[in-house]
Symmetry: C2
Subunit: 346 residues, 2 copies
């Protein structure tokens, strides 16, 4: 984990990219502090509740990369802005206006970046013109400070050799939007992009000066499958035990969907995880507490009680299932890390 | 929820089936007590840690329907057996022997049912003969009390009209196994089956005198899709808010895979949940905190801030993502229910 943190921090330093790591992957102030120590100016979160946990732990520079909406949240955002350097990504006047109101009433300001869709088709205004139109309205609102543009090229997954060409339309769209902002006299100091698959290609987006990569801290079968790292770079795994060998050709491990989640993502082929040292074993399916492992291709005779280490398909959703992580260095347990920001409903 | 609890309790009372509801669905001692109050002699759990939470809350009759394995667990099982009426389902001498040892040393006994596979091919001995062979060995172990046979016909999902024929092979296999037990002079007082899809067909399994249904307490899109109930019988839903309408034909709700999970189960067709009052809206896909809703078939103009109620595909894994449930009666919030037994790693 520390190597992963250092590696991306070094890359970002080299290319003068401000890394605001997305802490949705670990939800832990302790790991966030390691990311700050490696050079990050701040962290990213997905929810007001996560920001509160991080602020309570003493973190001061927080980006909520989510269009939060709701009366309780407006008050809590204003309260957070009073004690942190808070910014948000959002894509509409409807989301921004009540936040601006709450902040203006509290005499504070929250930074905003306008989200522009660059191909994932999730949130974000579809065109540079509409992005500008939202920015112009938000720029009038007391309680907000317009800071720039955010985007998330989450549709770009790899393999690495396809990245440069795939990033070109993102560049073109950002160029146009930033040009419009400048022409309209709007500030665009921050241009934030993200995602672990694109993390090491951010220098190919010359307009982007911030990255919100998250998964890189642990990596998973998905990032390996997309060609961005190897299994040696996967810092988180689930330790499971074989609990039944009663049926021919399969073993049951005590890790099912409530432990390893059922995301496939871009892992391709069969399987819901990588069994370390046994790539021939297929994690075929899950019930809630049962992992069905197909061992027909394995020469090993698995026995009840055997321990397995499984790298999940998608680490972010796996961490979110657990209350704590067990931190080991060279096989020796060193620390328990609380997943302090999980379980927040807003 | 109370109606669901009462309905299955009444059915089981009528057919003299002991309902040991599987509390993996709600993980709450508070709801477990409602199930006991409706007539259940005890509850089912999936883990030692869940049993401990239930025991701490004063529940005394607990079935761990899982082949638990591990040194810490053996001690904890013995400690639980000292303060509760504890039983377990398991399928091997390897799992049973160390539990028996720990219990014998502590001067306690844990009840055991031998798991037999009846078609799901998960855990369980594959034949009545092998089930008997395990039972005979366990019957010799101090620390264990042989109580019967457990099975889980989880492969039978419906629709209802297929159930009677589909249950016949289960009956045949149970008949044979119970015959072998009797011939060998072994007790077989408890014959435990389970699953919500088969819950109301348990009377078609005349040998079965216990049911471990769990999902019935809430129901979900899956139990509706399989024909076992209607959406009116779904007692748990996720309240979400529309946070972006920036892109044509879709809306983004603030409920993604970390809120609604990505299980498909037998729901068929597209979609990861049922939007109450808007069956034309498709919950097309998730990112972690984003629900992508396809609204192209909807006449409604959704706006940022609109509230949606979404019934999940699979309620058990959804509850497990959350720390508490909000209990409402006729739209008025009445209680907060802690999901006290979630987050246990063993």
């Amino acid at each position: 984990m520390e190597r992963n943190i250092r590696r991306l921090a070094d890359y970002c330093a080299q290319h003068r990219i401000a890394l605001w790591p997305h802490t949705k992957t670990h939800k832990s102030p302790e790991i966030a502090r390691k990311q700050l120590a490696a050079g990050s100016p701040g962290i990213t979160v997905a929810k007001v509740g996560e920001a509160e946990v991080m602020a309570d732990a003493g973190l001061r520079d927080i980006l909520i990369a989510y269009p939060c909406y709701g009366p309780q949240k407006w008050q809590r955002i204003a309260a957070l802005a009073a004690r942190t350097n808070l910014s948000m990504c959002l894509d509409s006047v409807e989301v921004a206006a009540p936040i601006a109101d709450a902040c203006a009433r509290a005499g504070v300001k929250v930074g905003v970046m306008i989200e522009m869709d660059v191909g994932l088709h999730r949130v974000g205004q579809p065109t540079p013109q509409r992005t500008l139109a939202v920015a112009q309205q938000l720029n009038q609102m007391r309680g907000l400070q317009l800071q720039g543009i955010a985007c998330y090229p989450g549709q770009l997954k790899g393999p690495p050799q396809t990245m440069e060409a795939a990033l070109q339309p993102v560049n073109d769209k950002l160029d146009e939007a930033i040009g419009l902002f400048k022409k309209a006299g709007l500030r665009c100091d921050r241009v934030s992009a993200g995602s672990t698959p694109t993390a090491y290609y951010t220098h190919l987006l010359p307009r982007v000066n911030e990255s919100r990569a998250g998964t890189y801290v642990f990596n998973d079968k998905n990032t390996v499958s997309e060609g961005h790292c190897s299994y040696d770079d996967c810092a988180l795994s689930i330790h499971a035990t074989v609990v039944s060998t009663a049926l021919e050709g399969q073993i049951i491990a005590d890790a099912g969907s409530k432990t390893l989640f059922t995301d496939r993502l871009s892992t391709g082929g069969p399987g819901y995880g990588h069994v370390v040292g046994h790539s021939e074993v297929v994690v075929e399916k899950f019930n809630e507490e049962h992992g069905f492992l197909d061992v027909r291709q394995s020469a090993r005779q698995f026995k009840v009680g055997d321990r397995l280490r499984i790298i999940p398909n998608h680490v972010c959703v796996v961490v979110n299932l657990h209350d704590q992580l067990i931190g080991a260095r060279r096989g020796v347990v060193e620390t328990l890390i609380k997943v302090a920001a999980r379980g927040k409903i807003q």
